[in-house]
Symmetry: C2
Subunit: 281 residues, 2 copies
């Protein structure tokens, strides 16, 4: 749930804290994009897609599988994640893809380079997300589409409501805000796209939708809790929490224990709303 | 968004405050049920379905259209809504349906009468929702399914965050609680189903999912705002707010004006998570 900027690991072995990110595919995390991508492919099989903030690249790779005659470029600010993304592509046997280091606020591409420019759980973590959207518009061809899907963390819906989970929610929202992010990103996407356009994007060019992500079954809860516990006990979230005074070591351990208890509870689940936009350029 | 218990109107002319309820269909409000209903129909076209808290009957009628050789029974606590539900069915040309007055906590049917027993936005409004689920289980045949979809009002996600809309959220949650309801119903459905079963329902018999409802386009926002303004200016919500001291007349008017402003804003939207369960008996 946290866009991790500090992963540094062996390509073949992601840390557990990246496991949650690596469950993401185009099908489960970019469903709102797929009909448009299919239409693009029908009129031009050589679709060029840019995935900004690609991380471990699981979404990028599944995009590449959907456009076998096209090409996907994944960029991430963190150069250390690129070997892992390349390993994910290689394992999937996907060759119409490349990964590069790059900043979402200054993507290293010429104007109008891509048919579709996509990001997932990126704008929620950065200051001035409209500047990033403006750059995404810049590198997108006229007639192309800029697409985003961002969580709305204030809609996080967890049961049972254990005290440690409430503290975790406050910690996560605090960590996002401390990094310049916006926990209510999902609901603000249209507002940001209009601001990015600076008058050149009309509301009629934007399609807004909402979807959910959730952990409901015993095995989903186990995976989720493991990933979050690893972030609380050793990951970048822990470092950020301690750095910004968002929680003590004891509190982080209380949160981890609460997630472990949650995972074992038959009636437990976790869900969240995500906002989704398609901007027709 | 409020289950209205006090509607009393001419069958052909629903008040605007019921308009939001009448947008509901099986397709948009019971999608999690449809694959199971199709399977039931394939093995037995004469499926018997009970819709508890059917209100104006728009969901019941669309269920009836999906099982033309089956039968739908809609019950509602409020006898005054039944003529409207019958008018909705008649207008749709649906005959395999009947509507009766009945209490969700004591549905007037023998044990094991229905193949599927369904409710939508009912459990969120009542005390001891597990008792209602236990009764739904009772009237459902062995091998049948109890299904529910309930909002989780604490996940309400609105933009822009106008002060009047924040007050409205507090009012609605307060009105639900004052009536014995549970604003966080959506996340508690599995817990309630297990409690209803009293040991006879295992977690493995329950399928949990989450979905969204939202108002995003200009015309959707207009419909939504109109319905909510009518409830604030003259409906049962107003009566309840004033009765329980949840808002003054001036505050209710401030909320209505905020919804009117919201409807006009290009970047505005409203979304919410809903919990959904299927319980295999």
């Amino acid at each position: 749930m946290e866009q991790d900027q500090s992963r540094s690991e062996k390509p073949g072995h992601p840390p557990a804290q990246a496991m949650l990110h690596e469950l993401r595919t185009a099908e489960n995390s970019a469903a709102h994009v797929l009909p448009t991508l299919q239409s693009m492919k029908a009129s031009n099989p050589q679709v060029k897609l840019l995935d900004v903030g690609a991380g471990s690249g699981t979404i990028s790779v599944s995009f590449a599988q959907l456009i076998p005659d096209g090409h996907v470029t994944g960029v991430d600010l963190n150069a250390n994640i690129l070997p892992r993304a390349r390993a994910v592509a290689e394992k999937a046997g996907v060759q119409n893809i490349d990964f590069q280091q790059g900043d979402v606020s200054k993507p290293p591409f010429a104007d109008e380079s891509f048919d579709m420019t996509f990001c997932h759980q990126v704008l929620i973590h950065i200051g001035k997300p409209w500047d990033a959207l403006r750059e995404m518009l810049r590198v997108t061809k006229r007639g192309g589409v800029v697409a985003a899907r961002e969580g709305d963390y204030e809609t996080e819906c967890v049961w049972p409501e254990l005290p440690g989970l409430r503290k975790f929610h406050t910690l996560m929202a605090g960590a996002m805000s401390a990094g310049g992010g916006t926990p209510t990103a999902g609901r603000q996407l249209v507002s940001w796209a209009l601001k990015a356009g600076g008058g050149s994007v009309e509301r009629s060019q934007i399609t807004l939708s909402y979807s959910t992500s959730s952990y409901r079954t015993a095995s989903e809860r186990q995976t989720c809790a493991q990933g979050l516990c690893d972030q609380l006990r050793g990951g970048s979230l822990r470092a950020k929490a301690l750095k910004f005074g968002l929680g003590t070591e004891d509190e982080l351990e209380e949160m981890a224990k609460a997630w472990e208890e949650w995972a074992k509870r038959d009636d437990a689940s976790l869900a969240m709303l995500h906002g989704e936009i398609l901007v027709q350029k």
